[in-house]
Symmetry: C2
Subunit: 332 residues, 2 copies
Amino acid sequence: MNNGVIKFLQEPKIMSTYSCVGSEEKKGPLGRLFNYYSEDNKFGKNTWEKSESEMQRIALFGAMQNAGIKDTGLDILLAGDLLNQCVGSSFGLSDYDIPYVGLYGACSTCALGLALGSCLISGGIAERVGTVTSSHFCSSERQFRFPLEYGGQRPPTAQWTVTGAGAFILGNKGRVSIPEAVFGKIKDMGIKDVNNMGAAMAPSCVETIKTYFRETDHSPEDFDMIITGDLGYEGSEILKELLLSEGIDIRKNHTDCGLLIYDIEAQDKHAGGSGCGCSASVISAHILKKLEACELRDVLFIGTGALMNSLTVCQGNSIPAISHLVRLKTEV
Amino acid sequence: MNNGVIKFLQEPKIMSTYSCVGSEEKKGPLGRLFNYYSEDNKFGKNTWEKSESEMQRIALFGAMQNAGIKDTGLDILLAGDLLNQCVGSSFGLSDYDIPYVGLYGACSTCALGLALGSCLISGGIAERVGTVTSSHFCSSERQFRFPLEYGGQRPPTAQWTVTGAGAFILGNKGRVSIPEAVFGKIKDMGIKDVNNMGAAMAPSCVETIKTYFRETDHSPEDFDMIITGDLGYEGSEILKELLLSEGIDIRKNHTDCGLLIYDIEAQDKHAGGSGCGCSASVISAHILKKLEACELRDVLFIGTGALMNSLTVCQGNSIPAISHLVRLKTEV
């Protein structure tokens, strides 16, 4: 590790991936790219929590099938979600006979899993690692805000939690590799508005991106895309402005998973998508496919997470945030 | 990795540790061994959640001081707790300028952090890793059961969540090394009684211990101690019985962190202690000291966690559980 940037000597490869989403995501501009969707967002289950777990189960099953491997072919599973005590993951993956490590990184979880899985492969600890991440609009609303039946109103800066899951199998084969990663530091800049997560998370994203460019020879124009997940409209604007004031201009090649997954105006999604299933499904279904097709060749993906819970908000605390980075590169 | 057992080529060492506890733990048989305690369990804060976070901050500070290192001396921080969205850790450690990875393993978190930190060191990803774990009786009761003011009654199989935190610094120096680890698999045997966590967790502990003895040349008598954390009285009895039926007899050298931390009868603690701060503080203050003094030389520590939340219990689900193992060995 070089002042925060990890360069993998054995570059892990993404062997396969699989995504599932709900109906709103299916209707969005990336709709046809997702592997699986549920019209009623229930995935055949009778509670929203079980529906979210079922997405995790399906996503991992699909990714393992796409890689041509079974339970015994995976050394470790890394998984996380937004629910209390991460039950989306533990209930969803309990049928798999695979050593399990539970992660909590809020909406940064997809990047966290990819980064940590890469460490385990590069370090010779594991040969094949599965990572799974999910969020569900209905389970999240109930837990972080109001039950759906209440019909709570949302301000313009609010983001819409994506119903989605993405799974990735890391190993030694595949066109896309992960040559570098950065584990972020927790940043708390005093933002207390739980309906403006973008503003709470942007400063931690600035910190991680600054660390990456400071400790490597790269500059933003070296990358085909710098994609965050998920700052939404508000957070993305803050990120670009803050970075520009530090002399780092990512305006030309920045985008955000939360801005891609919905047709924001037509679907009335306010500041865009959020939830750790957002970046998981967008990276899985959209970005990775473009990398595999060489339409993109070198991408920085920064997952951004807000680390509060509903009680800390009620107690008047500000919102700490974290951003983890992975570089995704196509072998030409 | 050899069918689940990880043998570290570069054996990570425990450089230092630090523990803090509340008043009940201070009154218990290990009371004088803990580094820090708060008479009113508040640690100077005005909410139980902030008190728990403060324990994490103090524990890491103490461990770093004991190792003679500063923020910049740690490459990665691994931390977790029992609170929703792991806010005990993220709020407690947000002041540290250290890359942060959030874990969720319920009461297995201390073992999970030690195992994962060892992977990062042995794999050459990090030179020094901090791991921190906490639980607080008052924040846990409010979240998982009832507010304290309600005065809920507890059945005999219930365990008492420990108010405590433990931090460990892993690196290349120290008398105690971690030569092996096992990441557990999620096991759900259909137990639904949230007041009998021991029964819910014991089967996963059986699975992890079986894996260890099946894949290594060792048998239980090779170890000075096989310590679980935290099955309590009920879960420990089930563990020993289940293992015996599989031909593995750990009755002579088994103990449990939840049985050590309180004078269970005198302190009216029913089936013993629990909470991820239990094993973190007992391993830190008691077991590690005995290893450093060569009173113990080779110990298997298995952290056991129950992965439900209060909503999944209300929805009638059973309780999935997981157990992670680390071997702690004194260099003679």
